[in-house]
Amino acid sequence: MVTIAPKETQDLNQMEDEAFRAHVRSWIEANCPAELRNPPKRLHWEENKPWYFKLAEKGWLCPGWPRQFGGLGLAPAKQIIFTEEVERFGCARTNDHGIVMVGPLLINHGTPEQQLEFLPKILNGEHVWCQGYSEPNAGSDLAALRTEAVLDGDEYVVNGQKIWTTLASDANWCFLLVRTDKNAKKQEGISFLLVDMATPGITVKPIINLEYHDEFCEVFFDNVRVPAKNLVGTPNRGWDMAKALLSFERIYLGSPRLSAYAFTRLRQLAERMGVWEDAAFQDTYGRLRLDLEDLKSLYGTFVDKLRRGETLGADVSMLKVFQTELFQRVTDTMLEIAGENAGLLEPMEGNRNLNPTGLYIQARPATIYGGSNEIQRNILSKNVLGLPG
């Protein structure tokens, strides 16, 4: 039985909810650096790691991991409060793939050796992970992935290409979906491999996106040799494990935080542009405001399910669709009232809070990543409404 001593010695589940909230809030307020709150774009490891290490040092890096594995072991209701407080301060997202993906993967499916080797290095920030899922011909249809791993002695030999790999240029490890059986049904020949990015044969090429930012990368694998012991779980069962990990992403992408943040900036922009009192603007603003409030109510119903310890069904896709499209509608409105500022590359007047074009561009991929909204609607129509294939 693996045991990794948690840094936080107190069992925070014993606290009353409101006392716990106050405790978390005051600690974040005192410890999350001001420049890492509400950053205008996704930050690189070099920029966000001070916050990662603050959390690590406190023992609060992995609120959802069991205490036995060095996490906080928070009950669902407490995890929700924790997330709400992180979102309240707009704390920068760290390179968190190790925390939210690799950790739960290994805790559920890893061998004791894998757990002991990798979990402590996530907890201390030594390993920075990236996620090797999408490929040029396997985007929405992820199960069509073709990057292959062929067993050769006690090593897998990996060949292929990944794309849209978030912050791969920061990462020293990658968790990779690879095809290990070309003859099986496409979902049934996929495995999970953990790959050291320093292995010979790996090339990372950043992609400049519409934000002029290099958040995403292409990753090429050319005869990359990976120890067979780095395969997680059962060979060829990787698809099921990957799907189970997505439940985090689906509720995360439905959180109102992005829409709510853009909405506060909409008001500031309207005041600056002198249209705040305009009746037509007020009508649009009121509609967006009520959409945001109803999103919060709907999000609350899913959060309540988590709080009761239930697992979320496919209907959580409703949140992703509505949230991301609301985020876009808010930023569409910002652009519409911004006049010629709608074409500026930098925030207006050097003020980070008056950044209509930055938010407009950031809102574009929200309906594409994490399963495009078209895919989410397919999921809703088939798995929730029961419409035929």
């Binding site: 709510a260 109510s297 119903t301």
Partner: protein, 356 residues
Amino acid sequence: MSQALDDRSESIRMIRDSAGAVAPPGGETKRVRALRFVAPGFSRDVFAEMGALGWIGLAVAEDAGGAGLGLSEAVALTEEMGAGLAPEPLIPAMLSARLLAAADDKALLAPLLEGAQVVLTAWQEKADSIAVPGTGDAPRVFIPMAAGADAFVLPVREGNRIALVSLPAAGADVVLEKTMDGGSVGTLRADLARASRVADDIGAVLEQAIDEAALATAGHMLGLMEKAFELTLSYLKTRQQFGRIIGTFQALQHRAADLKIHIALTRAAVESAAAVLDSGASGAVRQAAVSKAKARAAESGLLVLRQCIQLHGGIGYTDEYDVGLYLRRGMVIANQYGSATLHRRRFMALAPEDVE
């Protein structure tokens, strides 16, 4: 979870079960169709049954003869009534019961709670308004199902107070207009010389009671949306064109997914507002919660109902096919107790800028 919450979900479940007595779960519409345009447009027997089941006094305190339940139960009930297209004026009756209970009246309240007498509140003086000026000689308009009233109660302003007076329907000057769903609304020109005084001042509860009726109406709309969408989904799963089930077409699947999102938003808005009211919230918080729910229900409601017609194609445009019944009812109730625009405006005027 706490015992209180368990009790609440249990009482909501019981209310929903009991609703089957009036609104059959199978969605049978024969009763509803037979009542259309036949005065008074609803069944007095069913109204009496609603009284016997304790629904008219659902949110009236037990010591006043009611069931002492809350808005969470009330919206569950009105949702079931919407799904069953029940034409009986349950929400207007609940509003009257609330006022009469606050007035500490027994003479009118007891037969109303039993469902033996239909008592309707004539409060409205103009279209799309939730304000109650209480102008003594103003015609009172858009009284739902006025054709079936036994008595009216009227708020009448007297200085800083709003008195409540009652008037028998027999002999009253009521002009009826037919509504799209086969019912009626009435305009009452009250002869106050014939009226009897019920209470000196009901000003404190009047606004709250109308807000509760607005929220209950949002619940009714939610029921219409759910049922019309259910019909539409089953149509999408059976209708064939071009040699395929039409529900396999992605354009229709995606539209159905969008309608489902609107229904989910409406449910979240209505049920969270009911919880706000049941928690004892007052003032702006209470009013904002109601406006949020009513604005959503009115707007998303009509959107879903008319899209349900579209997704059916030609058959949806026939009176014979049931889906149109839901749109017709939706048109009648969408703006009752305030349109989407009215409630959006009120929400914006009330709501604290609490977005972070």
